[in-house]
Symmetry: C2
DNA sequence: GGTGACTGTTGTCGACGACAACAATTGTTG
DNA sequence: CAACAATTGTTGTCGTCGACAACAGTCACC
């Protein structure tokens, strides 16, 4: 029998008639260098969203891999960068600027504060809010992070070309 | 007192010296049309990854909103499109083609099968695998989905321009 | 004929966005 | 000045998602 529970799918007959295709192996091992990628995307190829999703996946993976040694994610990097560029900013302001939820930013800052990269100070003008700053260690670390981020950016250029990369930045600028 | 538990943050003194900024209201209501967006991004502006993330977020939101009436997500749409274009495909093949995990695809297909859009048939050549097909209802539905997806694509064009959109597709083509 | 690889499935983990609720605080308004 | 709405940081929950691990059935190959 099959894996014990197969859902209540009727398991209907194989339904002859529709060309099933050779159930291609899809593995590189058996068929040495099979034309594995002849699966059509049909209309999907004309959708920007799909292309962007794949690209974003690739770019985040590369960023994480490149900054793995310092254990910094893209989101953490963006928070550090914005706080560094605008010392004293409120959590709300940072969240709104980066399109992160207030609630989410709390945890992000918790982690960054535990690593002594950021500190929350009481705002002098509004006792509800915190003013955010990098610690000395944070400033130093960020300099190193930026070097690695630049290396990641070079990977992007190697992948799509400098001209295309510049064009991307230009096209996507309106989204901040 | 503050919200009961405020983390073990030392709550150190306000740390005078650093320009705190007016803790700007960040609300359109109080300050009519405040220059709310003068928070610098610093180096972040030069990173493709950040721009792509924001863009991807926007595009997915619009897709979901545009296809809300038929309750189809971008991922579901991609699965339907690929299965429609390649009838009889294996789950593995679909997963690999779309960059989805096998495990994830199981749930996606469960949902689509419950809605009678897709059916899993036993493969005639490999009893381990399923050959995927659209149902008649699935074919009909997909035609409608494609109309809505085209409308979403027009939104994209309205946002970034047709030339930029074409350029995007071109640049991101290598990512499939 | 037995061993190793592959498929579909289930489950778990962590990251993440969307929300809702809440205490503390602020600003406004009657 | 007191009442009230709005804001800020925080906690918690829910559903989605990618990454893994494990497992039963099946297949390929020596």
């Amino acid at each position: 029998m099959r894996p014990t529970r197969r859902r209540d799918v009727p398991t209907r007959a194989p339904q002859a008639g529709i060309k099933t295709g050779p159930d291609r192996p899809a593995t590189k091992k058996r068929t040495i260098a099979a034309p594995d990628d002849d699966v059509g995307l049909d209309g999907l190829a004309g959708h920007v969203g799909y292309a962007v999703r794949r690209f974003q996946l690739w770019i985040f993976q590369d960023f994480i891999k490149t900054l793995a040694a310092v254990d910094i994610t893209p989101t953490q990097y963006s928070v550090l960068t914005v706080v560094a560029a605008n010392p004293g900013l409120t959590q709300m302001a940072v969240a709104k600027r980066l399109g992160i939820e207030r609630a989410r930013l709390v945890h992000l800052l918790d982690a960054l504060e535990q690593r002594n990269l950021v500190k929350r100070a009481a705002s002098k003008t509004d006792r509800r809010s915190h003013s955010l700053h990098l610690t000395a260690a944070g400033e130093a670390s960020l300099r190193q992070f930026k070097l690695l981020a630049a290396e990641h950016e070079r990977h992007v250029i190697d992948k799509i070309g400098k001209d295309n990369r510049d064009r991307l930045l230009e096209i996507l600028a309106p989204f901040r």
